[in-house]
């Protein structure tokens, strides 16, 4: 029983990480949004699985909230923005595809290295997935840094949060529900503010290419 649970968790975490890696080689915001939707769906499925095997009913609520927020509501807003900016051509990132795949591979390895004490300490059957979650956090961080389009940076940021949510559920069976609710609220508010700013960038610069944001130096 425990081994099936453990394998399900590793499978789910791997999928969550792989959907994150899609940002590295695909071009086009549509593909990124789809990857994000799938990632969030798998993440909420992993959360529900942990809830089922760990006998923690609170986690069903968390899974439901995750799915509604990151699988439905935020993607809908992302798609609306994407339609608005559809005419803009995709830009070459600061780092080319091959290099970024190599970098990400190294980052995932690094994730394994720094989570070794965690895996060694934990007794939970879910622990094997933690390095993958840490890998996703680091890869998403790299995406945010290396991309030029505001919308892609936001998706990278949302994936970073997914990585942290995965880490929390695998490592601790979820942070306390009341804190989780506050985190959801913050994610939503933060995303809405970012959305306002992207529209503002578009209005003032007539593009959402952040390379133009270079007025402020020194």
């Amino acid at each position: 029983m425990d081994s099936a649970f453990s394998q399900l968790c590793v499978l789910g975490s791997s999928l969550v990480l792989i959907f994150g890696l899609i940002l590295l080689w695909r071009r086009g915001v549509t593909a990124y949004i789809n990857a994000f939707v799938w990632q969030s769906t798998v993440l909420s499925a992993v959360t529900a699985t942990v809830g089922y095997f760990g006998n923690d009913r609170e986690l069903y609520w968390v899974a439901g909230g995750l799915f509604l927020l990151k699988g439905v509501a935020i993607p809908r807003l992302l798609r609306r923005m994407e339609r608005r900016f559809a005419a803009e051509r995709e830009l070459e990132p600061y780092v080319n595809t091959a290099t970024s795949l190599v970098v990400s591979g190294l980052l995932v390895l690094f994730g394994y290295a720094i989570t070794r004490p965690l895996v060694a300490l934990s007794q939970l059957p879910t622990r094997a997935g933690m390095p993958l979650a840490m890998g996703l956090v680091l890869v998403s961080l790299f995406v945010v840094i290396s991309r030029k389009k505001a919308l892609t940076q936001v998706i990278g940021f949302l994936m970073l949060e997914n990585g942290l949510a995965l880490l929390a559920v695998l490592g601790t069976y979820g942070i306390p529900l009341i804190v989780e609710l506050g985190v959801f609220l913050d994610v939503l508010m933060g995303f809405l503010v970012m959305q306002i700013f992207i529209y503002q960038i578009h209005e003032t610069f007539e593009s959402i290419d952040v390379e133009q944001l270079n007025r402020l130096r020194h």
Binding site: L121, S122, L160, L167, P176, M189, G190, V193, H218
Partner: protein, 485 residues
């Protein structure tokens, strides 16, 4: 309970009032201004409790808690919040903001104050994180109050870098929670700082160290520590003056507060060596970057912003210098809050008159606005660490702690960097104060009453430079105990 309501209620009520009244009416600003001193009163009441030796808690599971560290920050936040309420847009007269902008300021500015006050009084480290994340959101909304290319750019950098940083701090919080849960299982209030501290000595050293690295990078981003500081000069220089004052005066301090809370846990688990090393590394890097950016600075608001990075770095170094150093760092925090919020309000007045943020185009400030110029000069002399201002005393105490802790080389380096900052800031100040008034600028002080509260700040700085009041000393000593030094 009532003290906490008195502390947190006024900013929240003011924000709700501003939401309810549309379009903006002047009485909203006045109500905000008149309510704001109640928060200060509540913070002073908390101070009284700390001096009497008890720690106030409130709510289910000790939801809110105000020990000495919380009290110090609550004081700073409520004072700067009140300054912003009195001097912010929408109080009548020509302040360069229309009704919609004033309303936006009253809503988000008050929510910003509320989230900072909540962050420093929350016992639960999860809620502390939520509140600090919310400070990013509420303050980011106010940066493009005047929509320009520069302010839009600054707000984007701020929200993106700030959110990513704070997300990493969440990662650190999760790792800390992970460590605790592995030790003690799921318990009521497991994220409460008091509960965490009670079992901190048995936490797994490597895990809590990893957690602290995430925490320091995360909250350090918001505190403006190099190399995560890149958003700070942009945001501080493009934000409207009252917001710059709040961000520089207290937001950085609130982020540092969060670091100190976790530092106490880590110190209890693995001793001071680990955190000391990290604090010194980031602190010195911040000092280096700030000092050399000050040399080439051409914009007086950015100059003040880099000076904030410098002082945050200095506080960080102070935290690594044993009990005396922590004491000096906390005193420095108070002084910096007073000096820097005053300076940003004054910079707002200068900007309003000269319509430029370039140092080279501001000349004859002492002739054009003698009082503003005089206070500005006093403020800059204070932040470069000259007597008789409080920052001189706290820097002196910090150096003494450093030599006592046996780190003469480090202190020599820090002193040299402060000297670089000193020379360049005095040079910039000279260029602004003297010379013929810039052409086309009206001469005369104009509306002078906002200078009254700022003059009080300057007076307080002088008082802190001449003496250390006993209640403040006791408060700071209690904080040093909390920080586990």
């Amino acid at each position: 309970m009532s003290v906490f309501i008195l502390l947190l209620g006024p900013p929240l009520a003011s924000a709700l009032l501003a939401v309810a009244v549309k379009p903006y009416r002047q009485f909203v600003g006045w109500a905000n201004a008149l309510l704001s001193p109640f928060s200060i009163g509540a913070a002073v009441a908390l101070w009284g409790h700390v001096l009497a030796g008890d720690v106030l808690t409130s709510g289910p599971g000790e939801f809110l808690r105000a020990d000495a560290l919380s009290t110090l920050l609550a004081l700073c936040v409520s004072v700067v919040g009140a300054l912003a309420a009195w001097l912010g847009p929408g109080m009548g007269g020509d302040d360069g903001y229309d009704g919609a902008q004033a309303r936006k300021f009253r809503i988000f500015g008050n929510l910003f104050t509320f989230t900072m006050l909540f962050a420093v009084t929350s016992n639960n480290l999860g809620f502390m994180w939520i509140a600090i994340e919310a400070t990013t959101i509420t303050s980011a909304m106010l940066i493009p109050l005047h929509v320009t290319k520069a302010s839009v750019e600054a707000s984007w950098k701020y929200i993106l870098i700030g959110s990513v940083g704070i997300a990493l701090a969440f990662g650190g919080t999760v790792l800390g929670y992970f460590d605790f849960v592995n030790l003690a299982g799921h318990r009521e209030g497991a994220l409460n700082w008091t509960v965490l501290m009670a079992s901190a000595s048995r936490l797994h050293p490597q895990v809590i160290q990893l957690a602290f690295v995430f925490i320091l990078i995360g909250y350090g981003t918001k505190a403006g520590l190099a190399p995560m500081h890149t958003w700070l000069p942009d945001a501080h220089s493009e934000a409207p003056a009252p917001l710059s004052a709040m961000m520089s005066g207290v937001l950085l301090a609130v982020a540092l507060y969060a670091v100190i809370r976790w530092e106490a846990v880590v110190t209890a688990a693995v001793g001071t060596g680990f955190t000391d090393g990290l604090f010194i590394a980031l602190g010195v890097l911040s000092l280096v970057i700030a000092a050399f950016s000050l040399v080439v600075q051409q914009n007086y608001k950015r100059m003040l912003a880099y000076s904030s990075i410098e002082h945050t770095g200095l506080m960080c170094v102070g935290l690594a210098l044993g009990p005396l150093g922590s004491f000096a760092a906390m005193l420095h925090l108070v002084n910096h809050t007073l000096a820097k919020s005053m300076l940003f309000f004054l910079a707002g007045r200068v900007l309003h008159r000269y319509r430029t943020t370039e140092i080279g185009r501001v000349s004859g400030l002492l002739t054009v606005m003698p009082w503003t110029g005089g206070l500005f000069a006093a403020g800059v002399l204070a932040v470069v660490g000259l007597p008789p201002f409080g920052l001189f005393i706290s820097e002196f105490a910090l150096f003494r702690a450093g030599f006592a802790a046996g780190r003469p080389w480090l202190m020599g380096l820090v002193l040299a960097l402060l000297a670089v900052a000193f020379v360049s800031m005095i040079g910039h100040l000279n260029r602004m104060l003297y010379g013929p008034p810039a052409p086309g600028v009206t001469v005369g002080e104009g509306n002078g009453w906002p200078l009254v509260p700022l003059g009080v700040c300057a007076t307080a700085l002088v008082v802190l430079g001449l003496t250390l009041p006993a209640p403040l000393q006791v408060l700071l000593e209690r904080i040093v105990e909390i920080a586990g030094r």
